[in-house]
């Protein structure tokens, strides 16, 4: 079995899958956390893969925010209501409780102020769903610890000076941040290298063997 395409580490649209059957495993997991018929805002929605998936499979009222012109154009052409904008600056203009879920899929590490973004997500939405790559995965540790280099792997394919990812964190770091802002974790799913959901285990095990994490947070 070949490893899943985990191209979402790069938030630019070109690397996003465009067809539903290509939907990344973490997108499916995110989608499954969303209740039918709810109102959803996807931050950094790229070409709208997740929004389409949500609209088609969960019957949600799906909205998006996307930085790139190319991504917005693709979304609008698919009939998805998407606003060109920046999660770091534009969330403040959204009213409280406007959405049931605000989703940040593979974008946390690319925002300038992750804490502000997360707090805004939980203000605008009753729940937040965040998926991100775990920077404490053993392969990353190996690159950094043994080779002494910033990791360039399948899931982190861009060299340190080119990457838009500026705020990497580990699963433990994320749990700490959630705790700091007073958010409750309702669900957490961790994927291994093959994109399989890991069974419940010690957080240390997740943090070492989990390559991706998806968390459902509540205020």
């Amino acid at each position: 079995m070949s490893p899943p395409r985990l191209s979402g580490l790069d938030p630019t649209v070109e690397r996003r899958p465009t067809r539903r059957e290509d939907a990344r495993n973490d997108l499916r997991l995110v989608a499954e956390m969303v209740e039918h018929g709810s109102r959803v805002l996807d931050l950094g929605c790229g070409d709208g893969s997740l929004l389409s998936l949500l609209a088609d499979t969960r019957g949600v009222d799906a909205r998006g925010l996307e930085l790139s012109q190319g991504g917005v154009n693709l979304c609008v052409a698919r009939g998805l209501p998407v606003i060109q904008g920046d999660a770091d600056t534009d969330l403040a203009t959204y009213p409280d409780d406007a959405f049931d879920y605000v989703i940040l899929s593979q974008t946390l590490q690319a925002v300038r102020r992750p804490r502000d973004v997360l707090e805004n997500m939980l203000r605008i939405g009753r729940r937040a769903i965040v998926s991100f790559p775990n920077f404490a995965h053993w392969r990353v540790r190996l690159e950094l610890g043994l080779r002494g280099r910033m990791p360039v792997t399948e899931t982190l394919p861009i060299s340190w000076h080119e990457t838009p990812n500026i705020h990497f964190c580990s699963i433990r770091d994320f749990l700490d941040l959630a705790d700091e802002i007073g958010a409750t974790i309702e669900r957490g799913l961790v994927l291994d290298r093959r994109g399989r959901v890991m069974k419940d285990g010690a957080p240390a095990r997740w943090n070492l063997f989990g390559e991706q994490a998806v968390f459902l947070l509540k205020r």
Partner: protein, 376 residues
Amino acid sequence: MTFAADRPLQLDSGAAIAPLTVAYQTYGTLNAAKSNAVLVCHALTGDQHVANVHPVTGKPGWWGAMVGPGRPIDTDRFFVICSNVVGGCMGTTGPASVDPASGRAYGLDLPVITIPDMVRAQAMLVDALGIDTLFCVIGGSMGGMQVLQWAAVYPERVFSAVPIATAARHSSQNIAFHEVGRQAVMADPDWRGGRYLDADTRPEKGLGVARMAAHVTYLSDQALHAKFGRRLQDRAAPTFTFDADFQVESYLRYQGRSFVERFDANSYLYMTRAMDYFDLAADHGGRLADAFRGTRTRFCVASFTSDWLFPTSESRAVVHALNAGGASVSFVEIETDKGHDAFLLDVPDLITTSRGFIAAAARARGLDAPAGEPAP
């Protein structure tokens, strides 16, 4: 279309116009369900000739990039309506029309017109055409103001709305530019207090200057530089006179001259005034979001990076208000050096976005896709 004298157009000023004449063009065919009508709203100096050869200038319609067979507003698929606004000078009642009270041209006796007045007149036309709900209302600049007004006052009659390069209120700077233009018109001795038609004169100098000044605001520094730079017009060296040495001067003078051939000076005063008065939030208790609260219209808002007359911040204010009102809204800021005029031009990103939005809205409206269009 002329409405009977017992069906006056009630104006925001408290006055009324009767009888009201609305000049309009249509393209395409209204379907049996009357669900495929698109209303195009024209800008300050535009008119109803959106996609046909202009009867006065002989030039192609002003929005050929957007409206026509196979275009985003596909005239093979939609029934497209474009009417000359009230106060205009291409057939709809305006300052050059005959005032039934005096038997001569209205001149400044025409009550001041507002954007809501223009929209009210359009609604009378749409009613008269037997159309209840418009599939789409679209326009740029002053046309975009009308789109916002339509969506605010007739939300149930607008299935989708595309306001482009516009604002929910006219900025102080823009009012200032308009005042410069109006003063140029009124400073021309041939304007004669607005009674120039009676004297068979036209304030061509004043209107030409107004157009020249306004035209600069429609472009951008980069666009002007790229087009003209500091190049001289048909000469090798400056003449040390006030002749049009520079190409940009020659270009502006041409713009001024050609404009006065097709546009009425008083109408220019009324159009600019209507834009100055536009403030959609003020009409809704000071909160723009309240203008759109609970709306089910789908919006697609677009702005241009180099537009300094209606900068992106104005469109963002509209988007934020729509968001706050829970509306379905898409927004794109399109990268171009073409300035405000970009909305009239064949700017690929504008065309692509509009095409996608309109096609998706048509699917949601249950309008059949034209043969040959791939399923999404």
